[in-house]
């Protein structure tokens, strides 16, 4: 029994140990299988990520190129500012592209080559001479006259993904060798040999950290840093470390070293601008120095390499001393490893960091404008193409005007809040600037925080336009042939029976009534009752149809209230309508995108300049001349305080009910500008068009250096002088004479007791008397 039991116990033990072995083996097999699956999954994940990113080329957006030619109103200072924005470096002798020298009365420069839609433009050296009025001469290297020179266009930014990562993707041939070599000696000396992780680097890092008593050196290879960057995960858990190491080794299995290094150069995080994360050396070079990577000097390359270790710890703008120490260390290593001569390194260490101020960085980067570009491109391109196809987008943005508009809006709102004792931040606004004879959108501001992505007021805030509609009412009147600018219209209360049976009794803003006034004065002083009289005479339907022709996407309901501006438009839509007026009655759809090129510089779409006649040019000439009086004698007289003396500007104030919206829209010879001020919650602001939007408009326009607006006379109009207050012919000494083109043959009544001496007999008599006396 005992023997049997001993035997059976032995059997049991054998049985159990055999089970255990099998179990362990099975478990091991299972674990191995799980590990294999995990590795396989990691492999798929990392390869997909790598391949995906490799082709993830966001569309690059450029501002308009500055054209230089004799006769252009551009000062040497203005050109120098443009060159600085383009990242051109000042140098005593201009020998390389992207450099310039400022001499007395001249600027010598060499442009960068650029692939435009129409042609590839090579680098060109030129001398620009300035006189009092701007550019007087333009000559090439050999002193020959150049009729025209186009600078390379300023890079504004990329159309990047919603999570805010922005990058300029560079090909291997666009990355300077010095950068690659420096990255390796500073970050990963074994890069060319290791298989993704480097035990030597880890050991070295540990030793350095023990000696320094803190984290001095990371043991991560460039490959590991790349993997970490792909998954935006900086937690320091063991699994994450293991995963990262495995993925690095897997990446090395699939791709060769130059590919990995190129991906690193394009991927690594190098700074932050608001909610925009700066990735890759291409964009970082623009972000810190405002110029392309290939133009960096050794100390600049060294700075970027220094920043890699920690863009917030080594932020050259916030931590200049700390960053400079690290930059100098990188320069020392460059010399020690023979990448640059010792002498170059010690000279480079004398140089300042050379980083541009945050304010001038991406001066023209503006989410509102980018939003407009994106919306326009969506007509022809899928979002995916914009984010990944490497398109190059040529736009109409004028960085100088854009920066000025952002600044004026912000200052203006701050000032209004202070003077009106409103809560700071309770007001907001929008500005749109276009050309006058062209449909180019040259600047757009969607709110006081211009750099923040958010509600795009310029495009999406639809607000009642109030009296901004009036020019269109008068235009309809002039087109009908029943009114001219001098036609007397009754300014007195009136009652209109609406279709609903109700009576509408529009009143003037000041509740004053002036009796008969010429149309031009009614418009200039924004009188409601004469406007409604003209509008009811030609019919609200005519006015609604004209608004549509001038550029509203859809004709508004033709109700009598339309005549006083009961129609909601965005600042952009207002700009469209006023652009058609400034353009002499020709409607051209506003646009921000001129052309698109593919990733290799091959021209794709170009967006044509297309126009259609929206209104009678002679009626428009009368109207725009009348709109000059808004600023000279009417509701916008206050603007004269800020405008250059004598500058002719045509415009109109607009105010909505209960002072909720304050508008001014108008134009010079060169620009159409619309300013809207209001509150996002649509509460009353206490501001009229003249007290809110107008000062901002006038101070902005004063900074443009534009020529005054000149209405285009047509053959069937003739200039007539008459009394502004009455619309009658008058002698200069007893009337306030203005000169307006009126349809030829228009006969005006004479002002009693002021009959002009203009009839031929009188004049001839006076001449005869004068002759006799002399």
């Amino acid at each position: 029994m005992a023997r049997r039991s001993r035997r059976s116990r032995k059997n049991l033990r054998q049985y159990l140990s055999r089970r255990l072995v099998f179990g362990l083996v099975g478990l091991a097999v299972l674990l191995l299988a799980a590990l294999a699956i995990w590795v396989w999954l990691l492999d798929r994940q990392i390869v997909q990520q790598f391949e995906g990113r490799r082709w993830d080329l966001p569309a690059q957006v450029y501002a308009r190129p500055l054209e230089l030619f004799a006769g252009q109103r551009l000062s040497a200072d203005e050109l120098q500012r443009e060159l600085a924005a383009l990242g051109y470096s000042a140098t005593p002798a201009v020998k390389t592209q992207g450099t310039f020298a400022r001499l007395s009365g001249r600027i010598v420069l060499m442009t960068r080559p650029f692939q435009f839609w129409d042609s590839a433009q090579p680098a060109q050296k030129a001398t620009i001479s300035f006189g009092a009025g701007g550019i007087v001469a333009l000559t090439d290297e050999r002193g020959r006259d150049l009729s025209l020179l186009r600078l390379d266009p300023p890079f504004i930014g990329n159309i990047f993904t919603a999570h805010g990562e922005d990058r300029i993707v560079l090909g291997p041939d666009q990355v300077p060798e010095l950068l690659l070599a420096s990255l390796k000696i500073v970050e990963d000396r074994d890069f060319d040999k290791h298989g993704g992780i480097s035990l030597r680097a880890i050991a070295r890092a540990m030793w350095a950290n023990i000696r320094a008593g803190g984290i001095e050196q990371g043991g991560s290879t460039l490959t590991q840093q790349l993997v970490r960057s792909y998954f935006l995960d900086n937690s320091r858990t063991l699994t994450r470390k293991l995963r990262e190491a495995l993925m690095s080794m897997l990446l090395e299995l699939h791709f060769d070293k130059p590919d990995l290094l190129n991906a690193y150069v394009n991927e690594i995080y190098l700074g932050q601008a608001g909610d925009r994360a700066i990735h890759g050396f291409g964009l970082a070079s623009q972000f810190y120095f405002g110029k392309p990577l290939t133009e960096l000097e050794p100390q600049e390359t060294a700075l970027l390499v220094a920043v890699v270790r920690g863009p917030s710890w080594y932020d050259p703008r916030r931590q200049p001393e700390r960053t400079r120490k690290r930059r100098d260390m990188v320069l020392d290593l460059m010399a020690q490893f023979g990448l640059i001569p010792e002498a170059v390194a010690s000279k480079a260490k004398q140089r300042d960091l050379g980083v541009r101020g945050k304010a001038t960085t991406f001066a023209s980067y503006n989410p509102t404008f980018m939003d407009l570009v994106r919306r326009e491109l969506h007509a022809d391109y899928k979002e995916e193409d914009l984010l990944s196809a490497g398109l190059r987008i040529m736009t109409t943005l004028d960085p100088r005007i854009q920066a000025l508009a952002e600044q004026r809006l912000k200052e203006g709102l701050d000032e209004l809040e202070t003077s009106r004792k409103r809560k700071p931040g309770s007001l907001d606004g929008a500005i749109v600037v276009t050309g006058t004879q062209t449909p180019d959108v040259v600047a757009i501001v969607g709110g006081r925080n211009a750099r923040m992505q958010g509600f795009n007021r310029a495009l999406d805030a639809k607000r009642p336009i109030g009296s901004l509609v009036k020019p269109v009412v008068y235009l309809a009147g002039f087109e009908s042939g029943r009114y001219t600018a001098a036609t007397q219209v009754e300014d007195a209360p009136l009652n209109i029976r609406l279709d609903t049976g109700k009576i509408w009794s529009p009143q003037n803003y000041d509740r004053q009534y002036r009796g008969p006034v010429p149309a031009i004065r009614a418009l200039a002083e924004s009188l409601n009752t004469p406007t409604v009289r003209i509008g009811m005479d030609v019919g609200p339907k005519k006015v609604a149809g004209l608004l549509k022709s001038l550029g509203m996407t859809k004709a508004p309901p033709p109700l009598p209230s339309l005549l006083l501006g009961a129609v909601d438009l965005s600042p952009m839509e207002v700009a469209q309508v006023y652009n058609s007026l400034g353009n002499g009655g020709f409607h051209a759809p506003l646009k921000a995108v001129r052309a698109v090129l593919d990733v290799g510089g091959k021209p794709l779409e170009r967006y044509q300049l297309r126009i259609d006649r929206a209104a009678d040019p002679s009626a428009v000439a009368q109207l725009t001349t009348s709109m000059l009086q808004v600023v000279d004698r009417g509701t916008a007289r206050g603007a004269r305080r800020w405008l250059p003396p004598g500058l002719a500007v045509a415009g109109k104030t607009g105010t909505s009910d209960d002072l909720r919206d304050s508008w001014f829209a108008g134009f010079t010879n060169d620009h159409v500008v619309v300013v809207w001020i209001g509150a996002d919650d649509n509460t009353p602001t206490g501001l009229s068009g003249a007290s809110g939007a107008l000062p901002i408009w006038a101070r902005l326009v004063a900074g443009f250096g534009d020529l005054g607006y000149e209405a285009l006379p047509t053959e069937d109009l003739a200039d007539v002088s008459f009394d502004y207050a009455t619309g009658m012919m008058s002698r200069a000494d007893c009337g306030d004479l203005i000169t307006v083109p009126l349809p030829a043959g228009t006969v005006l009544p004479a002002k009693p007791d002021c009959v002009p001496e203009s009839d031929n007999l009188t004049r001839r008599g006076i001449e005869w008397l004068k002759d006799l006396l002399n």
């Binding site: 129409d118 025209l148 062209t438 285009l712």
Partner: protein, 95 residues
């Protein structure tokens, strides 16, 4: 009366460039050069007239007519230019 200034040297260069493209049948390039000139000198009727003639050759008669009208509105006071604009308009309308 307003005097229409002569085409500036900068615009003339682009006008010549455009005519070169036009002669070779490269109308999109021809139009691009003229539009560049229009941005430099937007009130020069000669340029709008040229753009209208390019559209006419392309068979875009609606644009040709509109551009002719634009050129006409800028040509007041110049009989020769007005006549050329009128010619463009009627050529476009009679197609």
């Amino acid at each position: 009366m307003r005097v229409i200034p002569p085409v500036s040297p900068a615009s003339q260069t682009l006008l010549n460039e455009s005519r070169g493209h036009s002669a070779a049948g490269r109308y999109p390039q021809a139009a691009a050069s003229i539009e560049r000139a229009i941005r430099i000198e937007p009130r020069q009727p000669v340029l709008w007239l040229e753009l209208g003639n390019i559209r006419l050759k392309e068979g875009d008669y609606i644009q040709a007519e509109s551009l002719g009208r634009k050129a006409l509105s800028l040509s007041a006071g110049d009989a020769a230019l007005s006549a050329r604009a009128q010619q463009l308009i009627s050529a476009a309308r009679n197609r």
